[in-house]
């Protein structure tokens, strides 16, 4: 009996167990395969995404630098951080850092990983390197020391707490990268990013110009901190050939429909924050053009004023210069009764979601060359010629933004140029002229204006001393790192703070030497 019990007990059990164990992990691979994803990266597709993301996340929002550079403001403290520097909203400034690394930085790294070792893709590699410099340069200019060499290596090398590189070393590497990339293009190799490149359709010649233009920009950044090095790189950039022809302007193209990613991000963020109703009144975050900007344009009879600004009169956009009026940035206590009478961006230009974002314009090249000429680092033309050329180019680039030619009549441009001669007698006066015009011209790329403001002190903006501000009524010099870095990357963060100074709005970054 005992034996038979044993027999009966175990036989079926053995059978169940056998059945199960044989199939215990069958099909597991298939079950654990995501049907909505692929396992292999396509560098072209990721590069397109990296371009979108590299442009999309920037300081060019009303809540940040558009406000700080006094183009816009808001009666609302929260949205008005950029123009009011309120302490309670300081953490907003970390957003660019937070958004950039997992997107543009990681994506361009994936692209480089995929094409780097394939000689046939040399032109793709060069383009990716240049784009990487563009992305990093925008980040370091806002924050100072940032993770660079170890950044974006979470998956490849399991680096979860990247060290912060000094801005000095980042600049040195970025300039080296630009030079190497520019020189590595192989004109005989027809393999490019092609249509995946939404800036130049893969054209090596144009990317080369963009590389040298960035070199010019970054070289010029160092004038305060290391003039001789600045000169060396500026000279090299000019020799390499920068963007001087409107056809070569580095501009990111947008479809203007479909998903948000397909829309001009500067316009989209302004629309979403404030202007989507286009009635001059329902502005969600209380945004308007700032008084300083509109007053300056008006007093200069700037033909751009009707191109960029409107006032809603009975619900209809009116771009008559006479009625344009900017909102003061010191309003506290809510929506002013005359809110609707203040100017705001024009829907068909500044807010056009199909408009390209201009990343590097001929205007910028000429303004930088004008400064180089002033410094005797460039002798191709005199500063006054370059200055005038810059102003003309800047006016004409509104054709690109508005999508129609002749947005600003050439007569108006002539009149303006005639009224704005390069009259400064001292270097400083001339520099002020250049970077005041730069302020008008480069709008809405406030981030580039902010960089040159810190370097040159121009335009001579009067800071807003708003109650509860974080800076004691000074325009801040940098953005704050995300607080998550204090926790998740504490050692690297502490080292950066030690070196650079407190994680504070007024701490100056390397090239912004006092």
């Amino acid at each position: 009996m005992k034996h038979s019990i044993q027999h009966y007990t175990t036989a079926p059990l053995l059978m169940f167990a056998l059945l199960l164990i044989q199939s215990c992990d069958r099909n597991f691979d298939e079950i654990n395969t995501n049907p909505d994803a692929v396992s292999k990266a396509t560098p072209q597709y990721i590069f397109s995404k990296a371009q979108y993301d590299g442009v999309r996340y920037s300081g060019n929002t009303q809540a940040l630098l558009l406000g700080t550079m006094q183009y816009t403001t808001s009666y609302n403290d929260v949205a008005g951080f950029g123009s009011k520097y309120v302490a309670s909203q300081g953490a907003q400034s970390a957003s660019v850092f937070n958004l950039s690394y997992p997107t543009q930085i990681n994506e361009i790294g994936e692209v480089i990983k995929a094409v780097k070792d394939d000689p046939s893709q040399v032109n793709l590699y060069a383009v990716a390197r240049i784009w990487r410099v563009f992305c990093f340069s925008r980040l370091t200019d806002l924050y100072g020391d940032i993770p660079y060499t170890e950044a974006g290596q979470g998956y490849n090398q399991s680096v979860f707490q990247p060290v912060y590189d000094t801005q000095q070393s980042i600049y040195a590497d970025m300039l080296k990268e630009l030079e190497e990339a520019a020189q590595s293009f192989d004109a005989s190799n027809a393999t490019t990013f092609g249509s995946a490149d939404q800036i130049y359709s893969g054209s090596p010649a144009q990317w080369k110009k963009f590389a040298y233009s960035l070199m010019l920009r970054l070289g010029m950044r160092m004038t305060k901190v290391d003039a001789s090095n600045a000169q060396a790189w500026v000279t090299k950039a000019i020799a390499g050939g920068v963007i001087l022809d409107a056809a070569d302007i580095a501009k990111m193209s947008y479809v203007g429909s479909g998903q948000d990613i397909n829309k001009n991000p500067v316009a989209l963020s302004m629309l979403n924050d404030d202007y989507i109703k286009a009635d001059g009144f329902s502005n969600t975050e209380g945004g308007k053009y700032q008084q300083v900007f509109i007053d300056s344009l008006k007093s200069n009879n700037d033909p751009r004023l009707p191109v960029i600004a409107v006032v809603y009169v009975n619900g209809v956009a009116d771009d008559s210069p006479a009625i344009q009026k900017g909102m003061p940035s010191n309003i506290s206590g809510g929506k002013p009764a005359d809110f609707v009478t203040y100017s705001e961006p024009k829907q068909t230009t500044v807010l056009r979601i199909a408009a390209p974002v201009l990343l590097f314009t001929t205007a910028e090249s000429y303004f930088l060359l004008a400064e180089a000429a002033l410094r005797n680092w460039y002798s191709g033309a005199t500063a006054d010629v370059l200055y005038e050329k810059a102003i003309r180019e800047a006016m004409q680039q509104w054709d690109l933004i508005s999508g129609v030619s002749g947005t600003i009549a050439s007569d108006d441009i002539d009149t303006y140029v005639a009224a704005h001669q390069f009259t400064g007698s001292t270097f400083d006066e001339q520099l002020e002229q250049i970077y005041t015009q730069f302020w008008f011209s480069i709008f809405p790329d406030a981030q580039e204006v902010f960089a040159n403001y810190r370097r040159t002190g121009y335009p001579a903006l009067v800071p807003n001393n708003y109650p509860g501000n974080a800076t004691g009524g000074k325009i801040f010099r940098r953005f704050l790192y995300p607080v998550s870095e204090q926790t998740l990357n504490s050692i690297s963060y502490a080292a950066a703070i030690n070196r650079q100074g407190a994680d504070d709005f007024l701490t100056r970054i390397w090239w912004d030497k006092e």
Binding site: L20, I21, K49, G468, S490
Partner: protein
């Protein structure tokens, strides 16, 4: 093949044990054990004095047998007098208990009858021949009548036996004339007839799980008995893993059972919430999200650093899905951040027979990877054999009202800079600011509605905005059956109106349970439940946008919130009430936002059990829990913050399918050894097919369809998990004195790489009944010690965590876009091919004492639970290129003590008082996250003012944030740029988010037909960060913002260089320059969250239906019920300390959720 071998080996581990534990093998073990125990037994014998002729008294002999075999004897007094037997008859080694009894009793012309496993009655042979009837119920009555004629004089007694708790008839109750073997059992309707000698006697009624009752009979012919459940009965049976029933004494771990009726009177919509305070070590938290919301239950501390720490819910032995569709709400989300309800919310409390909580470790070991956080076993009601159809009707109507109101300041009213608004523009600008003039009744005051109002304090805004909520629940159940088939069908409807206007929740359930005995050997059972849950306008919470609670809490204190009603203009657009559009007008939210969801759910089980041999049963069971879910959340056209509107939707099909087969074998060897062996296999398939819809900008205004969006995307997600398992257990029982349980389970996970995809989980436990082994002082009725050790674990709960993949990004451009595949929340995580299953090891020791005839009980448990190789989704620096890394290195400790005291201080026929007190302390410590990583964040408040982090070396889920920087002397250090106190770094630990100490105190009074039950519970030692107070400070509502209102505020401290610092903030800038910036100092808003609450009151009148026979009712009761009636102790001035918003792991943040409520009402129960 090598892989296969090792699986095979491990998988068969238990089968091999089964083979080795053959009866023969046991026989030898027993013999050894017995000889080892012989000495003390002989010593015992010396206590009895043998007669000179080598005889001993029969009484002494039976005493010896009693202690040796741990059985009890019942006999008529005097029956054993003057009887003796030869001592030589007491040869224990050769005979079984029953053989021995036969031998010992034969000489005295006595017989015995086995009442149950541990009770025998002894009677004289003569009686037996005349009085005992065959046990078959059918023939009983007939034989009785024939006997009646034979026996003269005789007394014929009949009656009905019912259960006291529910009034239902009890079939199968033993009825015995005391001191004789004359007895019978009750039939299916609880009726019996017994004929006894005319002289009368005492009738003994006994039934497993009920207290024995003795009723003297002399002349009466009807004896109806109502049997009372014996909670502390030694024979109490508990349901354990896989639905296996075990005697409580045999269980090697702490296990707690709560009867269904505790949930059906004072009910919570979500039955899991009603576990609060009832069980030591179980921390159940209701969420402040209104009816239909989810619950968070954590047993013995959070077991996983970043993963799920909630228990597995099991219905009738098979798991169900408890996920929240689309994920839990977060403390900082906006718009679509609603609590969509969890899986357990679909269960109707009226269908629950009992809930057993397996607190983890050994208890849950048979569930392997899914038992790591404990298991909540729900046994549903079955039919009962009875004549006709039994009908039960249970109806509850409760009302809900806000229980806690903020203690705001009412000295200074709406305005800013000490100025009262006198124009509409000023009123709109300061709609949520209370930094105005001194409240003086001025009639110049203009509010955001543009009208003049007296400038007076408005203290009732919560009462004015919210309504009285109500819940009406009706359950109708039909039950019945016969020997062959039992059935129960219940239909229930729950209709709930939130305190939030326009917010409703409805749940309909139909539950059918059929079990049938097809032959002596074949049984089938099927449970089918269909439920339909639908909710409208569940409250969103977290940050301001779309949060309907924002306005009533934060509106300026001289505004009657009703002035802002209806919140929209003639076109239907939101009306401005304050300076920030993101702070929605709550009336607009309530009236125009449209949230709706519905969940169609089917839970089906079918099982078949076949007895191959008498003791060998094979059982197959298949279950499927399936639901489809539709959710849409419409942010309407005309919302100030998003004028063109937004849309969010989820459509998902989720299923959890389990197929299990088990074989169990039970035997007794050499009389004293009970062995039961179980082996089985389980296959589990989980699937979630989901599409997330999102879009914005309605093309045609005010028309809310996914087709009408300017920008939209529909992103599919498919998650599939398969887990296959084999398992087995061996239970040994020696004389019901010592018990040993060993289990093992091997799981294979589809979510892990083939190299690392399986793990073996063993457990072992023992229970020792000390009171039967040694003789303890009389005061102890029972003493038992238990110990266990177990490993359970889990295996990478999310699919696709091992390989990096790339997905397409929706785009209108002709250029394809691809990115590293992001998680559903838009973040990216570094995958990890080397992931392996994690392990949670629990060691548990405990004892159980019953004293003073079971009137006083003590249950004590101490445990240590360590999670190793925890799979953590740890946030990493974004600069790595990713938001998270999935690592396999977490280590977490939970150590704790649980104490349960039960007592019956008063017990008289008319009045009883039962009381129980449970207390549990759990200490958690995060030992490791990953190399070089010391912090992982579980969540944060809106604006990042407070974080809930796991920091290595600290407790699980603590609150972190900023303090004001202070120097050595405690002086505040000021930043001279801003003129504000400097912040410390953000890593300041400000308190525990999870209460370490929990307790419950329950009392049950019964007086005649009345009973009163109340439960007081408390949680201690945790803190809570209040977002509501952050805003109430920035907006001037808190009393702490009164400083400086008259003459300005003087700030003094030191500068960073140590110089003294002083600054006066004028009244005009008091808000903007100071109070508005205080959100930077987290510590100011962290409060002690300890509380004691009167959680539950049930006052019942049991209608004496026996006196109202015409109603044909079996029982009826009406009760006043209340939940969360009073907060007896709390430290938060302005909100309920239980004001949590998410059922996710980030506990410890109050985030302007729906106010907590007290509920009270009437419950009616009728049984026909």
């Amino acid at each position: 093949m090598k892989q296969f071998d090792s699986h095979l080996l491990r998988g068969f581990f238990l089968l091999v044990i089964a083979l080795n534990l053959s009866p023969q093998c046991f026989g030898q073990h027993y013999a050894n054990a017995y000889s080892a125990r012989r000495e003390p037994q002989q010593e015992n014998q010396r206590a009895t004095i043998p007669f000179e002729d080598g005889n001993i008294s029969l009484k002494d002999a039976l005493d010896q047998i009693r202690t040796r075999y741990h059985v009890k004897f019942a006999y008529r007094e005097g029956l054993l007098n003057d009887k003796s037997i030869s001592l030589s008859l007491l040869d224990y080694s050769t005979y079984t208990l029953e053989e021995l009894l036969e031998k010992v009793l034969a000489g005295a012309r006595l017989s015995y009858k086995r009442i149950n496993k541990r009770q025998y009655s002894i009677f004289s042979d003569r009686t037996e021949k005349t009085g005992v009837y065959p046990e078959t119920e059918e023939s009983e009555v007939q034989e009785e009548s024939s006997q009646t004629e034979a026996m003269i004089p005789l007394l014929k007694i009949s009656g009905t036996v019912t259960a006291k708790d529910d009034g239902l008839p009890l079939p199968g109750v033993n009825v015995l004339l005391k001191g004789t073997a004359n007895g019978t059992t009750t039939d299916a309707e609880g009726k019996y007839i017994l004929t006894i000698p005319d002289e009368g006697g005492i009738l003994v009624f006994s039934f497993i799980g009920y207290a024995i009752q003795e009723v003297p009979v002399s002349t009466q012919t009807t004896v109806d008995v109502s049997m009372e459940q014996e909670i502390q009965s030694l024979n109490e049976v508990v349901v354990t893993a896989l639905g296996i029933e075990k005697e409580k004494t045999s269980v090697a771990y702490s296990v707690t059972e709560v009867k269904g009726e505790e949930f059906t009177q004072a009910r919570e919509n979500n039955v899991a919430n009603s576990l609060t305070g009832k069980i030591a070590g179980v921390n159940a938290t209701g969420i402040s999200t209104g009816p239909g919301g989810s619950s968070r239950v954590v047993i013995r501390g959070n077991g996983s650093v970043t993963g799920n720490s909630q228990p597995l819910y099991v219905i009738n032995g098979m798991p169900i899905d408890n996920s929240v569709p689309g994920g839990s709400a977060t403390p900082n989300g906006i718009t679509s951040n609603v609590d969509r309800g969890d899986g357990i919310a679909a269960i109707n409390p009226d269908d629950i027979e009992s809930i057993t909580v397996l607190k983890g470790g050994t208890a849950a070991a048979l569930y392997g990877s899914r038992g790591a956080n404990g298991v909540i076993l729900i046994t549903t009601k079955k039919g009962r054999a009875q004549k006709g159809i039994g009908i039960e009707y249970n109806s509850t109507y409760t009302l809900e009202k806000i229980s806690v109101f903020p203690d705001f300041q009412y000295e200074y009213g709406q305005g800013d800079g000490g100025v009262m608004p006198t124009t509409l523009a000023q009123a709109q600008a300061t709609g949520r600011r209370s930094f105005g003039a001194k409240i003086n009744g001025s009639t110049d005051y203009v509010a955001a509605d543009g009208k003049n109002h007296p400038y007076t304090a408005q203290k009732d805004n919560l009462k004015n905005f919210y309504q009285t909520g109500s819940t009406f629940t009706n359950t109708l159940a039909f039950a019945g059956g016969n020997e062959a088939i039992l059935y129960r069908l219940s239909l229930a409807d729950l209709d709930s109106k939130s305190i939030l206007p326009n917010s409703t929740y409805n749940r309909k359930t139909a539950n059918l349970n059929i079990s049938a005995k097809l032959s002596d050997r074949l049984r089938v059972e099927s449970v089918v439940q269909y439920s339909l849950e639908s909710a409208n306008n569940r409250a969103s919470a977290g940050d301001a946008l779309a949060n309907p609670n924002w306005t009533p809490y934060e509106v300026a204190n001289t505004v009657d919130v009703r002035w802002l009603s209806p919140g929209y203009d003639a076109k239907g657009n939101e009306v401005i009430w304050n300076d920030a559009a993101i702070a929605s007008n709550s009336y607009f939210v309530v009236n125009k936002f449209k949230e709706s969801d519905s969940k169609n759910r089917f839970i089906g089980q079918a099982s078949i059990a076949y007895d191959i041999l008498k003791n060998l049963t094979v059982k197959g069971i298949i279950t499927r829990d399936f639901y489809n879910y539709n959710y849409s959340n419409i942010l309407p056209t005309g919302t100030l913050y998003t004028p063109l509107g937004e849309y969010a939707g989820i459509k998902s099909d989720v299923s959890e399918t389990n197929a299990m087969i088990t074989a169990s074998y039970k035997t007794t060897v050499a009389e004293h050894f009970g062995i039961s062996v179980l082996a089985g296999a389980n296959g589990r398939k989980f699937e979630n097919r989901q599409v997330n819809f999102s879009g914005k900008n309605y093309i045609q205004p005010y028309f809310y369809s996914f087709t009408n969006l300017a920008t939209s995307s529909a992103i599919p997600y498919t998650g599939r998990i398969t887990t296959n398992s084999v398992f087995g257990s061996v239970d040994l029982d020696y004389k019901s004195l010592i018990f040993l349980t060993a289990t093992g389970r091997q799981d294979w996970f589809s979510t892990l790489s083939m190299k690392n995809n399986s793990i073996f989980y063993p457990s072992i436990g023992t229970s020792f009944v000390l009171s039967d082994a040694v003789s303890l002082p009389r005061v102890f009725s029972m003493a038992r010690i238990r110990a266990s050790w177990a490993q359970v674990g889990g295996g990478g709960p999310d699919p696709y965590a091992i390989n990096l993949t790339y997905s397409s990004v929706p785009s209108a451009s002709s250029v394809p876009l691809q990115n590293v595949t992001t998680q559903s929340d838009g973040t990216t995580a570094i995958t990890n091919i080397n992931l392996k299953p994690f392990t949670s090891t629990t060691t548990e020791l405990g004892f159980n004492l019953q004293m003073l005839d079971n009137r006083l009980g003590l249950d004590f448990t101490v445990y240590n639970r360590r999670t190793t190789d925890d799979i953590v989704r740890v946030p990493i620096s974004n600069t790595s290129g990713y938001n998270y890394a999935i690592l396999n290195s977490g280590r977490l400790d939970n150590k704790g003590i649980e104490v349960l005291l039960t007592a019956t201080p008063v017990k008289t026929p008319n009045f009883t008082w039962n009381t129980s007190y449970n207390v549990a302390y759990n200490k958690s410590e995060v030992l490791k996250l990953a190399d070089g990583i010391s912090t992982s964040s579980l969540g944060n408040s809106a604006n990042g003012n407070a974080y809930i982090n796991n920091n290595v070396g600290h407790t699980y889920g603590a609150i972190y944030g900023y303090r004001m920087l202070r120097d050595d002397q405690g002086r505040i250090v000021f930043d001279t740029n801003s003129g504000l106190p400097a912040q410390t770094d953000i890593n300041q630990e400000l308190g525990k988010g999870v209460p370490p100490l929990t307790m419950g105190f329950s009392n049950d009074f019964r007086y005649k037909n009345f009973s009163l039950n109340f439960l007081v519970d408390g949680k201690f030692g945790n803190k809570v960060f209040s977002v509501m107070e952050v805003y109430a400070t920035r907006l001037g509502l808190l009393k702490s913002t009164l400083a400086g209102r008259e003459d300005g505020l003087v700030l003094t401290g030191v500068t960073k260089t140590g110089d003294s610092f002083s600054r006066t903030i004028p009244v005009s800038n008091l808000r903007s320059d100071y109070y508005n910036t205080l959100n930077r100092y987290t510590e100011l808003f962290v409060h002690d969250a300890s509380f004691v609450k009167l959680r539950q009151v049930i006052f019942t009148y049991h209608i004496p239906v026996s006196k109202l026979k015409f109603l044909r009712m079996q029982s009826a009761s009406i009760a006043f019920v209340g939940r969360n009636l009073l907060t007896l102790y709390k430290k938060t001035d302005n909100f309920d300390p239980e004001q949590s918003l998410t059922n996710g792991p980030a506990q410890g943040i109050e985030s302007i959720g729906l106010p907590r409520t007290r509920s009270y009402g009437i419950n009616l129960m009728l049984k026909f």
